[in-house]
Symmetry: C2
Subunit: 295 residues, 2 copies
């Protein structure tokens, strides 16, 4: 674990460096709340600047950098990916979905601005994200990201997650939910960064597989933290998965086996990177960061 | 009016011809409800095949044809535009928004499938639409359509519409709502068709202005029909605008002045087409169809 901790610390330092630029560009690409419709813009900004880890933008940036990406379009991509993630959280938190009152330590969008504004604010972030992606001029990135979000991606995971609440589910269903709800967009973020840098399909394959493994690991860690951490540590309601009868790895396999699964996925992610021709040191560190995080 | 009626009949005949292909391609581009997540796919199909006029796809097709468009990508565009329109209707009908129980003569998505499925089904249609647009390989179309849908377009109109309910509003606000909520996507549909056919910015200008005029006319007619028609004729709750204190043209200017406005907009749309180098006869007929429609 010592090695892991050191790797994670390296990643944390890298993240701190990159996140400043990511934030600056988010600020730039979100409409001002002095412009009509003001309150909706305020709500979008409220959710965007509630303090997330910016993991998807960081992964896109890192993959882009690993393939020697150049130019300013990367910030369109990082901004779009964080907007898409936030859009999914806003809708996921709604009363008819997960019904969560807190997110990142503050009231969720619908608690603060009402349901109509939360739904339309989420919609607007999703739409703005596609506008930004299109501004890269790279239609393949738009297509691939959209695919990762739709019913064969994130939305598929969200609906099966909701439909499975309180049900006795098989490991296969938990795998489906985790892969689709979380891993698909994480994987797509990495692939999008590589595509923007001009990587070929062959070069992208290892990055894709890495993304698949750490994307799954990220969600299993999330489920473990929901059990082991407090609400203060998480900034959202701890223990809510158990309370809602959510289909999670710990619920199906227990906490210890789930932790074992995380380490397996970590190793898988490193094995995937071994075949890559790109500069993947930072991606390795980020994998360690993902599996050792505490919130 | 005799001339108008004849023009509208010509448009109706053209629509009948084109709508078959539009429907066939929608069927092709929507995921089957035998594929996981089945119930969500079923809900998406339910709302898509509830029998709309397919006006946005028809306009895109007509503009594309007017500029001599070739190839099969037009069906990606027509399918995407109708999905975007349906996405907006599904979310607009939600209890926290317009709270409508019927649409096109059958229960709205949330009445039939519940709110979570309705919200995610709407999200999924929006995302799938962007995937289809991106598959044309034309990033400018994606960008322009997204722009027309966001907070400076359709979503902006939707939120100001909701915020204005029961308020005393100025004509300026009604104009803002109508243009953004309805005209923006109609205009974008025409421009997208022209772009896909390879039209230049200069060639697109008259089509854009035509779209702006008939888009506004379409919404004013909608507001008049809400007052003058029955629920059976409309397939949705008649009189609901007045009941909800909606900001509409008839509410601000009265029905007669609103009808006058429709004729002015019709004339504007024809004047815009006069400067076009494209084959615009069908677009002229469609303008007549739009202002004489009864549901």
């Amino acid at each position: 674990m010592k090695n892991l901790t050191a790797e994670a610390a390296t990643a944390q330092k890298y993240l701190n460096d990159v996140v400043g630029d990511i934030e600056k560009n988010l600020e730039l690409h979100l409409p001002k709340d002095s412009i009509r419709p003001q309150r909706l813009h305020e709500a979008m900004r409220y959710s965007m600047f509630a303090g997330g880890k910016r993991l998807r933008p960081v992964l896109a940036y890192t993959a882009w950098e690993a393939f020697g990406g150049q130019g300013e379009d990367i910030w369109l991509l990082t901004s779009a990916l964080e907007m898409l993630h936030t859009f999914s959280l806003i809708h996921d938190d709604l009363p008819c979905m997960d019904d969560d009152d807190f997110r990142r330590g503050i009231p969720t969008a619908h608690k603060k601005y009402g349901e109509a504004t939360a739904i339309l604010g989420g919609d607007a972030l999703c739409i703005l994200a596609f506008e930004l992606l299109a501004r890269t001029g790279n239609a393949e990135i738009v297509r691939m990201v959209a695919k990762s979000l739709g019913t064969s991606g994130m939305i598929g995971g969200q609906i099966v997650d909701i439909e499975s609440e309180g049900q006795q589910v098989e490991l296969e269903t938990v795998d489906y939910i985790h892969y689709h709800k979380t891993a698909a967009l994480i994987e797509a973020s990495l692939v999008a960064g590589a595509l923007l840098a001009g990587a070929t399909a062959e070069q992208i394959k290892p990055i894709h597989d890495y993304g698949n493994a750490i994307g799954l690991a990220f969600q299993v860690v999330d489920d473990i933290l929901d059990i082991e951490q407090t609400t203060e540590q998480l900034g959202k309601d701890a223990g809510s998965d158990v309370e809602k009868g959510k289909a999670t790895y710990p619920a199906v396999l227990g906490v210890e086996t789930s932790k074992q699964k995380v380490l397996e996925l970590y190793n898988e992610s490193l094995v995937a990177l071994e075949t890559s021709s790109a500069q993947t040191d930072v991606l390795k560190s980020i994998a360690a960061y993902i599996i050792t995080r505490v919130n």
